[in-house]
Amino acid sequence: MLEVENVDVYYGDVQALWNVSFRVEGEEIVALVGSNGAGKTTVLKTITGLLRPRNGNVRIYGVRSDTIPAHKIVDLGVSLVPEGRRLFRDMMVLENLEIGGYIGRARNVKNENLRWIFEIFPVLENRLRQLAGTLSGGEQQMLAIARGLMSEPKMLLVDELSLGLAPLIVKNIYKILKEINTSRKMTILVVEQNVRLALEIGDRAYILENGRISGEGRGIDLLNSEQVKKAYLAMG
């Protein structure tokens, strides 16, 4: 469970988020959508401790996360798949996965987790000794998700996964996320520029505009709302 309450975030003197509040309950898929520069990545960086809110607070499974060191936040059970994948390109696929499971509790179950990862992404098993930087874009995105899963999170945050990937590959990866959500009861927060895609997959969704939450609702309802159709889907 993730609760973001009245969060203001600044880059220096420039305010990027204004009074942002939203919540993600257990086992649901929530989409956070908005156009380029709306502050979506800022939200995720705030949740994972890479940025600190000036006002407001963030709770992850009941624990205030905005006051603990950033590297301890993954211990709370959330894992971020960052925008642009941010793989350790000069390390092997296997090493990327091992670093994904760096925290204590994940190290003890490394082999079980690896087996599970290979079930979800069989292609990675054949590439274990290959450098991460040499994978194709789709494979890199899969590895980034797999790396995020290695820490055994209860909640996965996925930032802009469609970026630079062919639509078919994106669709495939979203299908896999949906499966993980059902089979593992994994809570997922997806952040997407591709509004239609995100609203289709999300049980619920929030719309972020110029650093403010401007709408929320069930994904399907938003998809049919005038606001979304006009602003994001070039309809109406």
Partner: protein, 290 residues
Amino acid sequence: MLHFAQIFSYGLLSGALYGLVALGLSLVFGVMNYLVIAHGALIMMAAYMTFWAFFYLKIDPFLFILLVTPAFFVIGWVLFKVLYQSLMKFSEGEKIKNSLLISFGLLLIFPNMAILFWTADERAVATGYTGKVFDVFGVRLPYIGLGGVALAIIVIIALHLFLTRTYFGKAIRAVSQDHEAATLMGINVNRVCLVAFSMGFALAGIPGVITSLHAFNPAISFDLTNKALIVLILAGFGSIKGVLIGGLLLGAIEAAGVYIVGTPYREVFGLILFVLILMFRPQGLAGKKA
């Protein structure tokens, strides 16, 4: 032919030492973009400590490695906390510039401290095996040089295994590639940098011991830093595996220079090489990073 073989083997023996000299510098630069050009001064200080330990306590230099390495680890730890930690928040370029400035200060302070403590006179640790040589088909290989080669190979392999086989070593490599992504994985980046920096200092201890076995004085700090920088350019900045090869290459090139032109010009060839590589392959011979 024998003359050439002799010069060439001397070149390779010093080359292995150059590799060791550059190792700590390379590690620290690779992980956190700190260019600690005071590295040569650290090696010089380690050489004087070895000299003292031998002179007063009769501790064998090679045995003294077990003491000097942890001692320099601690010195690195303290200096990181006092001088270098505050640079962590800067961008890549700022880190290089600021760490360069601080290290330049240290490169002036340490040799002057050494002159105060030990005077500027040439010293050398004279052990029972100093000057002893193996004779291989007429080519003389000094015990000390061979010891240096053995140490260089052992240390570089050990460091490589540490970086590729242990969780902490992999964390160091992850941090060297992406601080933010490493943080997201639960890695304490500050801690990793502190340890890697201290390890870089510890790695000054071993070449220090070998340096003490030849004639040395406080001013060699600058020569050693010079060699280390040339090796780094040859090996590619931040490459651990490349360092030994880079060192041997520099040793071989110096040897070729000595053979063709003469001993007084030994230092020149490394520097010519340095300039040529910066002109034509600024990313280093083996490096990928610009």
